[in-house]
Symmetry: C2
């Protein structure tokens, strides 16, 4: 039987680490893809490297992207990262940490690599439940991307492959994702979530991403291994 292979977008956070574990559990051999795009939490790339190594991927490619293309986000500029927002505030709209067209750019580059490697399945750890209101995490966006992708490639137009964008977390809450990853043996101490880590590498504990993480571990009933600054 031919080996099943997939590309997994690996940011180094809880969601992408769990997505990688799910793809492995489904029998896929993994090519992991990460991006350095000027994010202030570039530390997540180190997490991605450690996770890729620990979880036994076939290859891990880290791609540099010109930060000028994304430069008005609080994740890539010197604008302040929102802190201490309530859950209602977090859910109330698209926050300052939104990065323009991020998933579109990541998926497009994954698509090029997929055709090069002759791989049709691309995993991305988006969730439409406990998410930060990013438009490019919604099912209708993912469907539109997949439709476009199948019109774009030589291999799909010639009928040799059909691109599938696989989103195993799309209907899971953060707590459910953590439970799932935990059951699959993900070492969450290697993952990174914080948008605004301290110089020493501690998670701030107050940004939306830290808050979602804390809440997720609580809901899952699993001890949170993260060293928070507060």
């Amino acid at each position: 039987m031919e080996e099943k292979r997939s590309i997994v977008l690996l940011s180094g956070g809880i969601d992408s680490a769990t997505t990688l574990a799910i793809a492995k559990a489904e029998g896929y051999a993994i090519h992991a893809l990460s991006f350095r795009y000027g994010q202030r939490h570039a530390r997540e790339i180190e997490s991605a490297r450690l996770l890729a190594e620990r979880m036994g991927v076939i290859s891990h490619l880290v791609v540099d992207l010109n930060p000028d293309l994304f430069s008005h986000s609080a994740l890539t500029s010197s604008s302040p990262v929102p802190k201490g927002r309530t859950e209602e505030q977090i859910r109330s709209g698209i926050p300052a940490t939104y990065v323009p067209a991020r998933n579109t750019v990541f998926l497009s580059l994954a698509l090029a690599w997929a055709e090069v490697l002759d791989i049709s399945d691309i995993f991305i750890g988006v969730t439409a439940v406990d998410y930060s209101g990013y438009p490019d995490c919604r099912p209708e966006y993912i469907e539109a991307f997949e439709h476009m992708a199948n019109l774009a490639l030589k291999a799909t137009v010639e009928g040799r492959m059909k691109i599938k964008i696989k989103t195993p977390l799309i209907n899971l809450s953060k707590g459910e994702i953590i439970k799932r990853g935990h059951a699959l043996g993900v070492d969450f101490s290697l993952t990174h979530s914080c948008y605004d880590p301290t110089p020493g590498g501690y998670a701030c504990g107050e940004c939306d991403s830290c808050q979602l993480r804390k809440k997720g571990f609580k809901e899952a009933g699993i001890p949170d291994p993260t060293p928070y600054a507060r």
Copy 2:
């Protein structure tokens, strides 16, 4: 009245130079975007720089992309570029010079920049007439990309902009494109088409792109300023 602005994808060839001239003639102020992705004809980036300068763009961003992502194309690898093919052969399928997901990657990065600059109109010089059979030059592909783009961005989902992918050349032959560009004052001596230039910078005269270029000038009845090696 507010200034109309657009992003123009500028490869440095005849089509993108003419597209830039059309956008200018329509009253747009231009932000030009070019990519270095390991193409063996990286000389086209120099053409793009000269054209951008000569044609008075507001800004010109050249973005580097990791060649590993695209590496099985004859444009980015050491595979031979097809030479001396007949027009029938050129039209008979997707050639070795196809670059995986190229327009998808270029348009996605343009999309990120568009949101950063608050620009809704993106010009790309694709044509479905005298083209090389690339799937990502067809109208149905462009429509699918536009649909996806409008689901992807904060600015579109919040109703502040609607992305338009403008393809003014889509129904024009190479000869018609050259006539149009000529009428708008494009200096075609600055443009570059050849997929496999000589070390001294001469166009090979035999690749599909050189052949299409020669034929186009002939059809347009305009002298071809290109120094061909043969």
